[in-house]
Symmetry: C2
Subunit: 151 residues, 2 copies
Amino acid sequence: VKRKSLENERCTVARGLDVVGDWWTLLIVRDALAGVTRFNDFQRSLGAAKNILSSRLKSLVEQGLFEIRPAKDGGPYQEYVLTEKGKALVPVLVALSQWSSDYVFSRREIPSAPVDRRKRRPLNRISLRASDGRRLRNEDVEFLSGLHRPE
Amino acid sequence: VKRKSLENERCTVARGLDVVGDWWTLLIVRDALAGVTRFNDFQRSLGAAKNILSSRLKSLVEQGLFEIRPAKDGGPYQEYVLTEKGKALVPVLVALSQWSSDYVFSRREIPSAPVDRRKRRPLNRISLRASDGRRLRNEDVEFLSGLHRPE
């Protein structure tokens, strides 16, 4: 399926999805945040075919989410390292993880979620706040659809 | 590309992506949060082909993110309405929108972002907190890769 390009969308949600709107991207970022740097380790972790992983990583480098560096230990392998732009996806992954814990897992399952590095406990629920600090419920947030798009 | 199923993953990020890990899903949710309920309006907003939109909406209903209701005005059109599970994606969309505003838009562009319904201003930056309330930087959050997966 050829997808519509969202590159020129004014909507931040749409334009964000144009970069990270697929399954692979955010899982690769998750692994990188977990310390994975080498192609073979991404591959083992994700169970992805080499050609697919290779093209995803290439595109993530082009998008500026990863950069390629020579191995720290002087070895022959390149390392894929998250840039600031890539690391800044942490809140997106945390929000997704909290939603998934709440709505996708059954009560009998034990979800694995990101933790606070110091105490090793799951994070507090993300709370949304207005610019004046008021706490917002989900229904207090207003989104614009593509129909509201200014021409 | 046949994708690996993430349905049985213990990782909340992976399992969440199994449900919302594509471009269409979150854009359809964005439009629904913006008040869109009818097939034709989703179609106009997203510029999607009818058959694709139709299969995406069907899958979102199966996943429990949307439910189908008769039109409120008694008209002939069905309405697609977000469930609690669907509405609970608001923080994911806000996090994505903030990342996109920061890293995907150039300074000359005017991003369109979700606003606080009362004041109609963009939200405060999402802040991550530990379970004891400590504010966390992105690097204070620890993720597990697929390599750490218990068998």
